[in-house]
Subunit: 106 residues, 2 copies
DNA sequence: AATTCGTTTAGTCAATAGCCTAATTATCTA
DNA sequence: TAGATAATTAGGCTATTGACTAAACGAATT
């Protein structure tokens, strides 16, 4: 159930985009909204879905709500899932790391 | 787009269950179907969604179609996504590994 | 030729997702 | 206190999703 909720939150173009923004910096709801051609309430809904899944958190400071990513949750969730579903994960993970390294260098 | 498709495929209880079965062994469509209280066409749809997302593959052998998980795809997709969205991922990953190790020992 | 495995197509239905506008709440400012 | 601003909540509308049944189909076995 928890994993489904996490994946549901991630299964959306605008929500992945929000997470990409928040991976670089904390932003207010308004700042995020500026970057989308979408009504504010719709965006607010996306934010609440992400927050509800534990992927981001919003902290109210005066008039504004500052949203930021919760990296621990994303990493541990996806990482944990991989461990469950991929028993032979370790070598693949090393391979993946090697590939990433090669791309960065090449 | 590709990530959205992957997450959409994963955002479903029955589909996560199918992947869990396939993480242990290759199974035919019928063997999978036996484990669900669901009409065959519905299950067939789930299988095609997973296959279309590149998470599983079906190989026809005679009358049967043998499905198996494509671990490389799952690992590389989720791993790749984590690298994009979590710049400070590395230390967290180590922490996660340490936690997993502790649990296995405890 | 008949049966089995599995998919596909078509039609129906209920529930959910995603968007909108309008209204509301909370806070700041003059 | 009135007015402006930030963001959410509420309500409505449409499209999609996910399930079902029933029927048909292709491919392989018997």
């Amino acid at each position: 159930m928890r994993m489904v909720k996490t994946f549901e939150a991630l299964a959306s173009e605008p929500r992945l985009k929000i997470l990409a923004y928040l991976s670089k910096a904390t932003m207010t709801a308004g700042e995020i909204a500026e970057r989308f051609d979408m009504a504010k309430p719709s965006l607010s809904k996306h934010l609440s879905i992400l927050e509800n899944a534990g992927l981001i958190t919003g902290v109210k400071k005066g008039k504004f709500i500052h949203y930021s990513i919760i990296q621990d949750h994303i990493v541990n969730s996806l990482d944990g899932y991989l461990q469950e579903v991929c028993p032979t994960r370790k070598p693949l993970r090393e391979e993946s790391a090697a590939k990433a390294k090669g791309e960065a260098e090449g």
